[in-house]
Symmetry: C2
Subunit: 609 residues, 2 copies
């Protein structure tokens, strides 16, 4: 060993001990004839004191930032202690030292607040990883990993590795494929998830399976998506939805406790998908704050059992509301005194292409009980008050109203709510709110192909009460315009998403385990018997030999870590991430391959111009 | 939950409890009006008793093997207890039952001794995994996984995930490559190991890293090799070889203790690569038994410092020995009375193409002190005795002698030794002997290219005492015939292999961390500066910014598990293995992909006829 102790280890009790440290030079400070060096490693920083006697040697071997240094000497009590670091009571009186390796000047400073931009830090990721901020993220990631394994082990889950070179069965997302040299003309696919394997393991009787495992999706990368990502992947046999919810909300609570010291003792809230859409305009609502949506007008065929408030806006000849399919309001607390400039800015905000609204209506609920609105000329103060009251606004609040086509308007109002929540400080990094979203529709309608697609995936079971509906009806859609009247449109999935602070951190379902039902599902998705057999013959086969009821969940590990770490960016929690073009700029990958590789794989390029 | 207890849980103390079990029907036995069913799950087997009252229901819903059954009733003490299973004191008096799923007749029996052949079992792997024999293997694998993580965690190692989509830098083995849709014409490679990433993590200061991680090699598959395999991958900074050896022999001892209950308290033996080759003809000797090699003749330029025994065979006009480069004997205990048929069979054995020898010479050391040999006409009894004595043979032993070219003869003698050890029962599945093999040559000579290749990999450091030799000599080989005289031929690597029962279970090295030395290594391997920069620019770059001394090891996880489980086949310890053509016969992968995929990836097939 090049050291007897780490740089985070020495304390007052170690004074007078002879020790050797090794680490990186963080700073060099010369005071007259003596030199102080802060030596850094993974565990901390220890101050080294080079006395005058070493000056000749230091002159011959000058130290620089990020040099790798080994130093031996006695532990000394410091006269002016540094209370900010655990080793601050002591320093090392250096007797001898060796420069183990030199460093040229780093392209950015190795500090929490580095001067390096994103591109530079990614190119020199091995230096970026030295920064304390990044190290803390990876340490948190390891702690979450460890806590997850401990909890699942205690609950009798077994880590069973599933293969990475599998079969391409592109359903939703695109597969990455791998040409097989030994089987020319054929390709493996990298798994988008171990879904079918974990189901097979249930058929095999393994009962409780888990894996923390890399998955791959060849999708166009939106900000903060990675082509390879990590899942906590779990499956259980002989369970119903309630069992899965209990098991895994306790997993997350265990992680909170172990990793963050947070007692999340309250019950995890639950909400149906429809309520989430109704109250928050979003299937993953951030429930750290209220500001719920007031649906003034909405399409009755989507939200049939809801109270209509259209009378609040109807009949005032305000064309925008009259023509709108949907009108939704939120009451923003304490913002009634927004200036014209501020409301204009909000209007511009909702008109940005990402939000895509035509305008914004507001009602100021003044502190003195009066109301002021951008649509004063259409609505009396009484009407304005009625709308504001219905939206739950109090004196001092600002009511914001969006109107337009249902889907876009609902989404936009949700975005506006989140934005206002953020601006007003309602979305705190250190406050955590879990939520189960339940009762999703099993199917979505794919307009282009005039058929159903699975909202979750094709292995998700309908609610037990909907199985007969699914079995006994023809999935074909005769009348595209009236697809919502097809019996399949109302089938609910036995599926659940876990939402943390407005992020979907996990999702799962009770699975289909009956061959006939699985075939019906494949049929609904437009697969004929031959295609079913070609793609999923092994699964349909497995269901013939005694498949047990089963269900599971998968958590997005990168996302879970980033939210636990109070960050929006998953990249900061991945040791070697890729950029938005799927490139590793440090490695310069992907890259061209040799002719020999093409020849062996029996493929060639077919580049479009 | 579909159950209150598992099928392995109920005991005498549970008698009279009302419980519900769920599992698979192992057997159905009818005795008069009552029916016994053995119900199986991951945890065990519990006997169910269906009384006469349920007969009508059973007639309507007949049970069959591998049906999934849920049964509720009272726990009953059995009159004739089954001492062989933990639940054997009780049975479940069924009050009601539900068939959760049916099963058609499985293609083979779900038993330890199944009637299913390899192909059938692989096709229906989900049924094969139900067999107790396979389940025990996967449970052992999980236990080794768990013990590994626990030990490394205690030792401050951090699990840090490294990427799977990296850059193709084919050195030794072939890479699997992945076409990048977003970067047309470019490819990722799947990692053969996280080698360079773990070194970068050391440069980043992470100090102690580990991962249990999938790796990929596109090699022609010999029996029991898999295109994807799992490594326990570890790296440490600020260490010397001795530190690594101690850390990781203690890991293996911890696994022995935790998983197998074996106290491996003795010191792990160590042997230089040269001694292993000299004494066992093998760089991964099985030291559970002796029968060491006696080198009678050997090439002096390879084993310069060894005692020559050629006088024992020289000058007898026995052309085979006189012409041979190498003559090696082993003394097989207690086999002097082998019949002609037996020695003939051994002769045929060494003549098989896999062994490739021209013949076998033997000396029987009879119990009465006389000697009898296949080369009696060349050697007097006195000479035969001298050879036998030198080989360490006692009365009753059989000396076997092979002669020929050095490399082949040494390998063949090693194979013969292992075969005889196996036949004589010296290689016990439940005896475990660890060995470190040290001091490997750093380079091997590649005849075709007349250059050096790295024996371990290009990141392995030479012994500290050999660094000057490496730096100060030109790696080019002027005289191919005399390559052994090149200074590089004698450079030893700072590398180590861990051998368990004749299998290399792990290997590693102290790494190069100096840029100049790494460049010299690349140069020795025939890479010019441009190629170095293209392939490993990131690593050479990292070495400029303060790289610490570091080293590590990687264990073959599949192999380690199989040896711990007393099996020769790693396939039995992998949930979903591939066959020798790299195919997953259950999935039928690899397979053809869609035209759309080719178009998107901008590649096409280029099949040879």
């Amino acid at each position: 060993m090049f050291r007897t102790h780490t740089c985070g280890e020495l304390r007052a009790a170690d004074v007078n001990q002879e020790v050797t440290l090794a680490g990186w030079v963080q700073t060099v400070r010369k005071f007259g004839s003596i030199t102080f060096v802060d030596l850094r490693d993974r565990y901390g920083i220890t101050q080294l004191l080079f006395s005058e006697a070493l000056n000749a040697q230091l002159d011959e071997n000058p130290l620089g930032r990020e040099f790798v240094l080994q130093a031996t000497g006695k532990v000394n009590e410091r006269s002016n202690k540094n209370k900010n670091i655990p080793t601050g009571d002591v320093e090392l009186l250096v007797e001898s030292f060796t420069i183990l390796n030199k460093s040229v000047t780093p392209p950015f400073t190795i500090q929490d607040d580095t001067d390096g931009g994103d591109d530079l830090r990614m190119k020199y990721r091995y230096l970026d990883l030295r920064r304390n901020a990044v190290k803390k993220n990876l340490e948190l990631r390891y702690a979450v990993n460890r806590a997850t394994r401990d909890y699942l082990h205690q609950q009798n889950f077994m880590d069973i590795e599933t293969p990475f070179l599998i079969k391409s069965t592109p359903e939703g997302a695109r597969d990455f494929v791998v040409p097989s040299r030994m089987n020319p003309g054929e390709f493996y696919a990298l798994p988008q998830s171990p879904q079918t394997f974990k189901q097979l393991l249930m058929v095999s009787g393994y009962d409780r399976y888990y894996q923390i495992v890399k998955c791959f999706r060849d999708e166009d990368l939106r900000a903060d998506r990675q082509p390879e990502f990590t899942q906590i992947d779990c499956e259980m046999a002989f369970v119903k939805q309630e069992d899965v919810l209990n098991m895994f909300e306790n997993l997350i609570k265990y992680i909170f406790k172990t990793v963050k010291g947070i007692d999340y003792s309250e019950a995890v809230e639950r909400m149906s998908w429809q309520e989430a859409m109704w109250q928050y305009g979003n299937d993953k609502p951030d429930i750290r704050f209220g500001m719920k949506l007031l649906n003034i007008k909405y399409p009755r065929h989507v939200f049939a059992d809801k109270e209509e408030n259209a009378h609040l806006v109807d009949g005032a000849d305000f064309q925008v509301f009259d023509a709108a399919e949907t009108v939704i309001a939120i009451a923003v607390p304490g913002c009634s005194e927004y200036t014209r400039k501020q409301t204009d800015e909000l209007t511009e905000w909702v008109k940005r292409p990402q939000i895509g609204m035509k305008g914004l209506v507001f009602i100021k609920c003044n502190a003195d009980g009066t109301y002021k609105s951008s649509v004063d000329k259409f609505y009396s103060e009484e009407k304005l008050k009625a709308i504001a009251d219905a939206a739950g606004a109090k004196a001092g609040d600002l009511v914001l109203i969006l109107a337009g086509a249902e889907e876009r308007t609902r989404k936009a109002t949700s975005e506006l709510r989140l934005e206002m929540g953020k601006r007003l400080g309602f979305r705190k990094d250190d406050e955590f709110k879990l939520l189960w979203v339940l009762d999703f529709p099993l199917f979505e309608y794919a307009e282009e192909e005039n058929r159903w697609v699975a909202r979750h995936h094709p292995f998700t079971s309908p609610k037990p009460s909907d199985i007969d509906t699914m079995i006994n009806n023809n999935p074909a859609i005769e009348n595209a315009a009236e697809y919502l009247k097809h019996p399949y449109a109302n089938i609910k999935a036995n599926a659940y998403d876990m939402v943390l602070n407005g992020n979907e951190i996990g999702g799962g379902s009770i699975r289909i385990y009956q061959k006939e039902l699985q075939q019906k599902m494949f049929e609904a998705l437009g697969m004929d018997a031959e295609e079913q057999q070609h793609k999923f013959g092994f699964l349909l086969g497995a269901f013939e030999y005694g498949a047990p009821p089963h269900g599971g969940i998968a958590f997005g590990f990168d996302r879970l870590c980033s939210i636990m770490g109070g960050s929006e960016s998953i990249r900061d929690f991945i040791a070697f991430p890729k950029n938005n073009s799927g490139r590793d700029v440090m490695l310069d990958a992907p890259s061209a391959i040799d002719d020999k590789q093409f020849t062996e794989l029996q493929i060639k390029l077919d580049l479009k111009d």
